[in-house]
Amino acid sequence: MPGLPTESNAVVALSAPDVCRPSPSSALEQEVVDLFEQWRNPLLRYLLGSSLAVPDSEDIIQETFLALFQHLRRGKSRENLRGWLFRVAHNLALKKHHRNRRDVKNIPEPMTAGTDSFIDSFIDPAPNPEDQLATSQTQQRILAVVRALPEQNRWCLYLRAEGLRYREIAEVLNMSLGAVSLALERSLAHIARASQR
């Protein structure tokens, strides 16, 4: 029948809004891959530090960088992409923890002091024989102290360890600058006591 849309016409009509988007370029893909190279390990350390398992953490990182691609493709702000990446990954991690808590079977084994997984994950694979015992004992104490910190303080510490400035940490965790400063100071005071014992 004349005038009736064909199947291929329907596809074209469907795609029309997408054609109006900024055209995706391989340069943008490459930029996102370059940022992945730069920030994947720091993000992974941050997520693993929050007790997520490696596969869950890798999934979150994939989702974070795909979101970054969409963010940049839509021409949104390029200011402080490092903070943006950590904020998105942090929020996805919170969701994942929430889901894991609902499904108890999926909760990864928490690394608490005194368990084998705690000690196994902590011990240096190639320790210096002379310092091994003393070092491992001190570091076990520090790890135990860090894990006993309030969640927010621990996140501050992990984000600072990945090089984020106080303002970036405040934005990722939705805290005030003063609260970030106080959290770091208190956490380091606990660590100092653990390492001097």
Partner: protein, 261 residues
């Protein structure tokens, strides 16, 4: 010269180490440290604690970080897919296709017309014919589906509605008796395509268009809350939306509007 009482706080010392003080405060702290051994010693202790923590942190976590090769390749593949222009793709399950073939063969063998092409049967049909309306989706990811602008169904062009009636052998159907509805709603990534459209009878009193709308809203909420995979939502609604409704609302009968919300 600063007195004993005016020593720097640990927070000031830490902020100085971290370069977080304003230029004015940094100058004040520096002047104090030059003069005060006690505060310098305290600052060194803070730096030592930072060193101890970083060593523990890296030794604990770095060995657990796998190679980036696999994740990098996966990211590149996903980026290529995202960057490609949206294209149609069909989510016809093999089981669904096989069931449709068996039905067609049975109808042929017993000498009946294709049941959905019979006007009498069409009136009673509440789920679409899977061979004519298997469901079709546009390649969108969750974030695109969950954009606020993607909540309303687009109107189906009249010409396309006529094609749907033709497909279902309902050329003489009264236009006001049916709504040409999306099987997979565009709010869930459904395509504006004939394979995703079917004539839903207004005469259906129980499993009607309003009930299906409630299911679509509910599935979209679950998808956007990260509680349901988008592909699963599309498959469930395409396979049998009534069964999907029963499953996701935990009921055998449609809920009232208030209950569904």
């Amino acid at each position: 010269m600063l007195s004993e009482e005016s020593h720097l706080s640990d927070q000031e010392l830490l902020q100085a180490v971290d370069g977080e003080l304003s230029a004015r405060d940094a100058g004040r702290v520096h002047s104090h440290l030059v003069a005060c051994w006690a505060c310098r010693a305290r600052q060194q202790e803070i730096e030592t604690s930072i060193g101890e923590f970083i060593r523990m942190h890296r030794r604990n976590l770095d060995p657990r970080i796998p190679s980036a090769d696999g994740p990098r390749a996966l990211l590149k593949a996903q980026l290529s897919q995202l960057a490609a222009p949206p294209r149609m793709h069909w989510r016809i399950s093999w089981a669904l296709a096989a069931a449709a073939c068996v039905l067609a063969l049975s109808a042929y063998l017993i000498g009946l017309n294709w049941p959905w092409r019979s006007p009498e049967r069409v009136v009673a049909v509440m789920v679409p014919n899977p061979s004519l309306t298997p469901g079709a989706t546009v390649l969108l990811d969750r974030s695109e589906v969950c954009m606020e602008s993607n909540t309303k169904n687009k109107a189906v062009p009249v010409a396309l509605q006529r094609r749907v009636f033709d497909e279902y052998g309902m050329r003489s159907a009264a236009p006001g008796a049916y709504e040409v509805d999306y099987l997979i709603t565009p709010a869930l990534g459904g395509a504006d395509d004939i394979h995703n459209l079917w004539p839903q009878a207004y005469t259906a009193t129980v499993w009607n268009a309003q009930v299906k709308d409630a299911l679509e809203d509910h599935l979209r909420d679950l998808v956007c809350a990260g509680q349901l995979d988008l592909a699963t939502a599309q498959r469930e609604i395409a396979t049998n939306w009534i069964e999907a409704y029963k499953k996701y609302f935990h009921t055998d009968r449609p809920l009232t509007h208030a209950q569904a919300n």
